[in-house]
């Protein structure tokens, strides 16, 4: 009993412990690791991935997957860049609107046409990528600097980066929805057993529909931040974002089979992967080792491997303990 509880605690909070350990390591080893500038830059840059991972987390908790988030973000960035001369609100609306539209297509394909999420979102991924290229005319679309649009990605809310503030609000809402609303509980119930949920009277298709639309909208929002932060709508950006998001969700302890998961640990997963890069950069700066940027993906992959193996052990023990 005690052992089972210990295992469950490690499974849920392992990512938080790892995150704390990594931060402590960085703090002790590098002078400027916890400097204001470094922390704020880190948060600003990773806010996009955090938003995408939040949508992905909900989709995965229903037992689905959304491969389209990366190219939907690219589409959102192009749409918002094109609308940016008209101001912040049209820019935001265009980017999020494009994301919602893509999410709507995913949702329809999954719930109405009953396609497997993997295939449906794979198709949307290609369609969104093509649409982004068409809309942008095969080149990056620079945003307007006069309309104030760049504030979304580059501005500060007092001293806190605005994109990071947006991500924090999104995670707060996500956490509230998951833990305190019927829809949120239904998300987990569907992932745990879809047929059982339907037989119990849950409107499974409606919940799944919402989840995919939300994921699209969040990816669109990430695209707005991308365009605003880097000053251009980028039709070929976002390649591999979906897999980064899946990795973050998995590292955060959410099982890909659905039915369990947490919004907070997903955020921790995003930060963990982000800080891992940061530590690598600092380590290069120390001059002890010199790892090229290419090592980053190797280390990220190894890290994912360790987490996956740990998860496999933990879940097996948990099953045995039950």
């Amino acid at each position: 009993m005690n052992r089972a509880r210990l295992v469950r605690i490690i499974g849920t909070y392992g990512v938080l412990i790892a995150l704390a350990a990594l931060i402590l390591f960085g703090f002790l080893r590098y002078d400027r690791f916890l400097s204001f500038y470094n922390v704020m830059t880190l948060l600003r840059y990773n806010s996009m991935f955090a938003l995408v991972a939040l949508g992905m987390c909900f989709v995965i908790m229903t037992g689905g997957i959304d491969l389209s988030v990366g190219s939907v973000a690219a589409l959102g960035s192009v749409a918002s860049a094109l609308a940016s001369p008209y101001g912040i609100v049209p820019g935001l609306a265009a980017g999020i609107g494009a994301g919602l539209a893509a999410g709507l297509i995913n949702a329809t394909l999954v719930t109405r046409a009953n396609l497997m999420p993997f295939i449906a979102t794979l198709a949307t991924m290609q369609a969104a990528s093509g649409s982004a290229l068409l809309l942008a005319g095969n080149q990056t679309v620079s945003v307007s600097y006069e309309s104030g649009f760049t504030a979304i990605g580059q501005g500060n809310f007092w001293t806190f980066p605005i994109p990071a503030a947006i991500a924090v609000v999104a995670y707060l809402i996500g956490s509230l929805v998951l833990n305190y609303t019927g829809t949120g509980r239904a998300v987990l119930a569907i992932g745990g057993g879809e047929d059982a949920s339907r037989l119990m009277g849950l409107r499974t298709d409606r919940v799944k529909f919402l989840v995919y639309v939300a994921s699209g909208g969040l990816a669109g929002l990430a695209g707005v931040i991308l365009a605003s932060q880097f000053g251009a709508g980028q039709p070929i950006e976002g390649v591999g974002w979906e897999l980064f998001a899946i990795a973050a969700v998995v590292v955060g302890g959410t099982l890909l089979t659905g039915g369990s998961g947490s919004v907070v640990t997903t955020l921790a997963g995003v930060l963990l992967l982000g800080i891992l890069f940061n530590v690598l950069n600092f380590e290069n700066g120390m001059g002890w080792i010199s790892l090229s940027a290419y090592w980053q993906s190797v280390i990220r992959g190894l890290f994912l491997l360790v987490v996956v193996l740990l998860q496999a052990r933990l879940t097996r023990r948990r099953l045995n303990a039950l």
């Binding site: 497997m116 994912l304 193996l309």
Partner: protein
């Protein structure tokens, strides 16, 4: 109880009427292919030439070879996202060996032989690693192969330091450039692999075991099938196919760029498999279908490009066709 016979009768009545969806889902890929060819014969200039055939076949070869391995993996209910990265690894490794960067080899023939064998084997071993994660630790295939999807390209980039390797070694490049009997060498390789895999899946015990595992893993285990070994084997084969495809790509290009070789290949291969009629949930698979699926997707793209539609729009159309094809197949099953 009185309801029962009537419902059987109803079902018979339904079966007797022409099942449009069933027909489309069974022969949809072939029909689409025939329609595409007919359309092109009518509207695309210079379509009925050997050159068109060769261009399309050479472009589709690597996708088909990877899709063969992918079909076997998907038949067991798995998926392999790492194929593109494995292509990059074998594509980065081979030139390093035959150009003598790792250890100098006197004879170029010896060097090329070593390069081909070692790099394909390395890709196969990495495939076995995927299988090991799936079979031994019961990691979900998407996550297990995600590890090498992320790390694999990084390994290839680290190996080459991200640099382009260019070469002009006919002893190696025959694999992508030679034309015995006027047929491109890689088309012959593709045909051999497709034929071998189709035969193995249909006629051998190994093939039937693959389908059994995908159909019902627990039942297969209880029936005495070595499920773990089957899984190891299919991921290993998928790795070998990816390794070979990587060699063909760099041979055609006369260069190897670890950033680009095999980029996005996993999605092309999965799309070909899905359009070809293999169930993504496992248990039912067709190698010839994957070949036809890849050809259909390729021909759609060629048709659009040859008629002046931009590449980006072709992507959107391709996406629609993938979704439509899979939807049609589901109508048949449902």
């Amino acid at each position: 109880m009185t309801e029962l016979p009537r419902s059987y009768a109803d079902r018979d009545a339904v079966a007797r009427t022409f099942d449009l969806f069933g027909f489309l889902s069974r022969y949809g890929t072939v029909i689409a292919l025939v329609l595409l060819v007919a359309f092109n014969l009518a509207f695309t200039r210079n379509f009925a030439t050997m050159q068109t055939l060769n261009v399309n076949l050479t472009q589709v070869c690597t996708i088909v070879i990877v899709a063969v391995g992918m079909t076997l993996v998907i038949a067991t209910g798995g998926i392999d996202l790492s194929v593109g990265s494995l292509m990059a690894i074998s594509g980065a490794l081979a030139p390093m060996i035959f150009m003598g960067k790792i250890l100098p080899i006197g004879s170029i023939y010896l060097g090329v032989a070593a390069a081909m064998i070692v790099s394909v084997l390395v890709a196969g071993l990495l495939g076995l690693f995927n299988g090991w994660l799936v079979a031994r630790f019961r990691v979900q295939p998407i996550v297990a192969t995600l590890v090498l999807f992320i790390a694999g390209r990084g390994i290839a980039q680290v190996m080459t330091n991200g640099n382009l390797q260019t070469f002009r070694v006919p002893e190696f490049q025959w694999i992508g450039l030679a034309r015995p009997l006027d047929i491109p060498a890689q088309v012959i390789i593709m045909a051999v692999i497709v034929a071998a895999a189709a035969w193995a899946l249909k006629k051998t015990l190994f093939g039937r075991c693959i389908l059994a595992v995908g159909g019902n893993e627990k039942a297969s285990e209880l029936a005495g099938i070595a499920v773990s070994k089957i899984k190891l084997a299919v991921y290993g084969i998928s790795g070998l196919c990816a390794g070979l495809a990587g060699l063909i790509v760099i041979a055609i290009n006369s260069s190897s760029d670890a950033n680009l070789v095999g980029l996005g290949m996993e999605l092309d291969a999965i799309a070909a498999v899905a359009v070809g009629g293999t169930l993504l949930s496992g248990g039912k698979a067709t190698i010839i279908g994957s070949l036809l699926g890849a050809l259909t997707i390729q021909l759609v793209r060629y048709t659009l490009l040859a008629n002046g539609v931009p590449d980006a729009a072709a992507l959107v159309v391709k996406a629609g066709i993938i979704a439509l094809a899979v939807w049609l197949q589901q109508q048949h099953r449902g």
